[in-house]
């Protein structure tokens, strides 16, 4: 059944008094406190939605390794992460920059020229890999990020599908 009135005040609304409304506000607060939605969930959903419509391969994380960073003394680690998909292996190394951002160096195997996009919550950065499959992002904001490896523009010969990595925290 559709509600008979088109978007006005409904009888149901009219029958609620101030105490009811206050009570509902209270119920909302109680559940917000006791069972809050994970704060980053909308962001993760947005990531996924942004990838729709791409013909994609999803890479999976196969290895992660933390090493004390040579670039910055202190607790910060340099991380090496490897992702695998059917057509491609993506390895990245994440190093802290002094300004709080991160440097990301990457390699594709087999080596090839591709367009590499780094999606972050703030912006999308794009670089291209060279024929050795190397690429680098000098400065990436910290937080959630995700790599999309697209076929290189110039080669229309179907150089493989886009590959995306799971979201990772830089």
């Amino acid at each position: 059944m559709t509600p008979s009135d088109a978007g006005g005040i409904t009888p149901a609304d009219e029958s609620m008094d101030d105490v009811d409304l206050e009570l509902l506000d209270g119920i909302r607060e109680v559940f917000e406190a006791s069972d809050p939605m994970p704060v980053d969930l909308p962001e993760r959903i947005r990531f996924r939605l942004a990838l729709r419509g791409l013909e994609i391969e999803v890479a999976r994380l196969v290895a992660e390794d933390n090493q004390p960073s040579l670039a910055v003394r202190g607790a910060e680690l340099s991380r090496t992460i490897t992702f695998d998909s059917d057509s491609l292996t993506i390895m990245i190394r994440i190093d802290p920059n002094l300004d709080g951002t991160a440097r990301v160096d990457g390699w594709l195997a087999p080596p090839q020229r591709r367009e590499i996009e780094m999606k972050t919550t703030a912006e999308s950065l794009s670089v291209a890999s060279d024929e050795q499959g190397r690429f680098a992002f000098a400065s990436v904001p910290r937080g959630m990020a995700q790599l999309v490896v697209r076929s290189a523009e110039s080669e229309q010969s179907g150089t493989g599908r886009s590959v995306v990595t799971p979201a990772l925290i830089l």
């Binding site: 409904t10 609304d13 009570l23 939605m37 969930l41 959903i45 703030a122």
Partner: protein
């Protein structure tokens, strides 16, 4: 590029409805930012809808992901804030029940009945509800029937102007939602007033 307007809770309800309708139109035309804003605004409601069915945190997250993906195929049929909210709530609830029914089949029989709320106090985590009033309210909610708990939990998060279409979608057409909602709220009020001494649901 990415403009995430903080949700201004104070914005009038009508303004909000108009804004959501505009966002839906923009999203239909492919605006990722608009779609993102809708996700940010309505996910907290859908979270409660999913969790009210007893889903685990990770199952609830999966359900929300699924529902938002599915919305993309239905944007053409949705034009108002009310129909958007109603569609999202119903789809989330249906999907959540499907997932939780599947999960329950895999559990031993004694887990079959789970109560939506723990007996006392907020969840297993931190004691987040500090003030007494809220604690009393929490306990009173816990004494309502499962049906009333779910209904009030959802309704409490639904933007008021969208309320009647959500109610209709929940299988409680305007004719009967009033009494049902009224009964749940009335019972809650009675519990809070200490009137329902020892009476069962």
């Amino acid at each position: 590029m990415d403009e995430r307007t903080p949700i201004t809770v104070r914005a009038s309800q009508t303004e909000r409805s108009e804004r959501i309708a505009r966002l839906v139109t923009a999203a239909r035309q492919g605006s990722e930012a608009a779609l993102g804003e809708i996700v940010t605004e309505l996910s907290p409601l859908l979270w409660q809808v999913a969790r009210a069915t007893g889903l685990s945190v990770s199952d609830a997250e999966d359900v929300l992901q699924t529902v938002w993906m599915r919305l993309l195929d239905h944007l053409d049929d949705i034009h108002t804030s009310a129909s958007l909210t109603a569609w999202l709530v119903t789809t989330t609830r249906r999907q959540a029940w499907r997932v939780s029914a599947a999960a329950r089949r895999q559990l031993p029989a004694d887990n079959e009945v789970f109560s939506m709320l723990p007996d006392q106090g907020p969840g297993s985590e931190e004691q987040v509800i500090i003030d007494d009033q809220r604690r009393i309210l929490w306990r009173a909610i816990g004494r309502l029937s499962a049906r009333c708990q779910e209904l009030l939990r959802i309704i409490a998060f639904v933007p008021r102007p969208d309320y009647s279409s959500v109610a209709a979608e929940l299988g409680m057409p305007t004719g009967s939602i009033g009494p049902t909602r009224g009964r749940c709220l009335a019972k809650l009020r009675a519990l809070l007033a200490g009137d329902l001494e020892g009476s069962s649901q």
